[in-house]
């Protein structure tokens, strides 16, 4: 960086008048802003959410990135085709898939086991984007808790049960596959 770089725009500080030099406008301005917020808070206009006494309002639950789920197709089978694209895309290497030959005619492989380490996951949503069949999705469940590390490694059944629990509230997102979005 050079001082005479034409790309640098030097902003001149505004010239202060008498009142400004005597520090008075700053005094009034600062204190009035503080008092405004204070009065607002005392009238109950706070932004704090007293979780768990009250539930937080998510801005848009459909794009919130919470606990994962594995979607089922119309016949109730797991939708995943064990292509490993999500595991490859995952920056945290938290997805572990064992793919075996599929018993169904419509695809070659299916996951015999599909585990996600929810403690390693950074909830970036790249698995969701990578999935070619929209099998893995992130739900709006934010209160993920557990009593041990082992409990937080979600296997296929657990992930499918997350789908069962959330499918009514959050339908599958792809319109092509019967979702609403």
């Amino acid at each position: 960086m050079k001082p005479d770089d034409p790309d640098i725009l030097w902003v001149q500080e505004p010239e202060l008048g008498l009142a400004g030099r005597m520090y008075m406008p700053m005094f009034v301005q600062g204190l009035s802003t503080t008092l405004k917020h204070l009065a607002g808070s005392l009238r109950g206009k706070q932004v704090t959410v007293s979780y768990p006494d009250e539930e937080p309002q998510l801005g848009n639950p459909l794009i919130y990135r919470g606990v994962h789920r594995l979607n089922r197709d119309e016949q109730g089978r797991v939708k995943c085709v064990a292509c490993f694209l999500c595991a490859t895309a995952c920056p945290a290497h938290c997805i572990d898939i064992i793919g075996v030959e599929s018993p169904w005619p419509d695809r070659e492989k299916y996951p015999e086991s599909f585990t996600i380490d929810e403690l390693r996951c950074i909830y970036c949503g790249m698995c969701e984007e990578a999935c070619p069949v929209d099998a893995i999705e992130l739900t709006s469940l934010y209160n993920l808790t557990g009593r041990s590390r082992e409990e937080m490694i979600f296997d296929k059944e657990k992930l499918l049960s997350v789908y069962d629990a959330t499918k009514d509230k959050e339908p599958m997102q792809s319109t092509r596959l019967g979702g609403t979005l």
């Binding site: 030097w10 005597m22 520090y23 802003t33 706070q46 704090t48």
Partner: protein, 410 residues
């Protein structure tokens, strides 16, 4: 000294220490709630009576804080100078508490307990009639500097030591404007005794904030700096610089430092009220003389505490209204702005006081006239200083940057 008088002093000491320490704890809670409210949050409101679900607005929080600080691991780094490390918080707390020996927390209590040797009426100050009370406060605040320096040095850590230098430089620099602000009051009241200063304001009815506005501004600014409150909290400055002289402290020793800082704020509030806001005096409510009934005596205590509470509220509001000064701005404010303003105030007050005696002004209009003259002088001085020494600095790089090896990529 009789035993009764000794017990009287002990009772006053216990009452005052208990009151001040409890007040400090609850002011911490109030400060946290205020901080939350100003930032549109709720703040600590959940700790109530232990083992029940009663919350009472979080009034149990100070207790929980205290227990937390005491139960915390008290970690002493291996590289510190152990004895000085332990001594520093004790010095600073003792200095902060001893100040309250000369600060009146009311006027007098006209009760006759019928005990021989008890002074009657009871004066509501631990060391009554201390002729050099203002001076004692100065001495003890300079002792508090020891706690800061020793704490920083004993930590044997560059950042702690730099923090100690930073804050002791600030404390020493702002003692001058503090003294100049007090001197104007002392000249006008004719005494260094805080009780006498209050009664001087009560008898004339003109609080010194009205009589010496500039002195009040200088004193309040200096008191903020001495108490290390924002916007002058360079000693701590936890967001930008490292925590300062108590970086290496934890547990109960850190608590002592923090309590001492809060006590400094309470002392500053008491001094502002006593020196400039009339102490226990309020027009038409408390009377002015030495002879008071019980109701008036209690009213005086309440008026004084109420004023102190309001000033502390102001401290907290200001904390959330201003950004912190940079260190050079801090020093410029002390030496180039506050010092001249304080001198102008002192000289103007002294001259006007002499004029009053010389011309024997004792008509009803003489007080307002002299005060108006002082206001005029002060306003003029403020304008001159504001133009001569604007606090707004041009922050653009002044030197030729080519002289330095600047990476063009940056």
């Amino acid at each position: 000294m009789t035993t009764a008088a000794l017990i009287e002093i002990l009772v006053k000491v216990i009452l005052l220490l208990g009151g001040v320490m409890t007040a400090a704890a609850y002011f911490v809670l109030l400060e946290r709630r205020m901080a939350a409210w100003v930032q549109d949050r709720v703040g600590p409101n959940r700790v109530g009576i232990p083992l029940t679900r009663i919350r009472i607005f979080g009034l149990g929080q100070p207790l929980a804080d205290g227990v937390k600080f005491i139960m915390k691991e008290e970690y002493t780094p291996a590289h510190v100078d152990k004895r000085m490390y332990v001594l520093a918080p004790i010095v600073i707390l003792v200095a902060a508490l001893t100040v309250f020996a000369v600060i009146p927390f009311g006027s007098v209590l006209p009760v006759d307990l019928g005990i021989e040797g008890l002074s009657e009426p009871i004066r509501l100050v631990v060391a009554p009639g201390m002729d050099v009370a203002v001076f004692v406060i100065f001495g003890l605040s300079s002792i508090a500097v020891y706690g800061v320096i020793l704490g920083g040095w004993a930590s044997n850590n560059k950042y702690s030591f730099l923090g100690a230098l930073r804050s002791s430089a600030q404390l020493i620099a702002y003692e001058l404007p503090l003294g100049l602000g007090i001197l104007g009051v002392v000249v006008a009241a004719g005494s260094l005794d805080l009780e006498a200063i209050i009664s001087a304001q009560a008898t004339s009815g003109w609080w010194f904030i009205l009589a010496q506005p500039l002195g009040c501004v200088v004193f309040v600014v200096a008191a903020f700096a001495e108490a290390a409150r924002l916007p002058f909290d360079l000693p701590e400055c936890e967001q930008e610089l490292i925590g300062g002289y108590h970086t290496e402290y934890s547990g109960i020793k850190l608590l002592l430092f923090l309590v001492a800082e809060f006590l400094h704020m309470i002392t500053a509030a008491f001094l502002i009220v006593i020196l400039f806001l009339g102490g226990w005096h309020f027009w038409g409510l408390t009377g002015a003389g030495e002879q008071v009934g019980l109701v008036q005596a209690v009213l005086r205590v309440m008026v004084l505490s109420g004023k102190v509470f309001l000033v502390i509220l102001l401290f907290m509001l200001i904390r959330w209204s201003w950004p912190r000064f940079r260190f050079d701005q801090l020093m410029a404010l002390a030496w180039k702005v506050m010092l001249p303003l304080g001198l102008v105030n002192l000289v103007s007050v002294a001259i006007l006081d002499q004029l009053r005696t010389a011309w024997q002004l004792d008509a009803w209009w003489s007080n307002p006239l002299l005060i108006a003259a002082n206001w005029g002088i002060c306003l003029l001085a403020w304008i001159v200083v504001a133009y001569a020494q604007p606090l707004i600095a041009d922050n653009r790089p002044q030197q030729e940057l080519e002289l330095y090896d600047v990476d063009p990529q940056v």
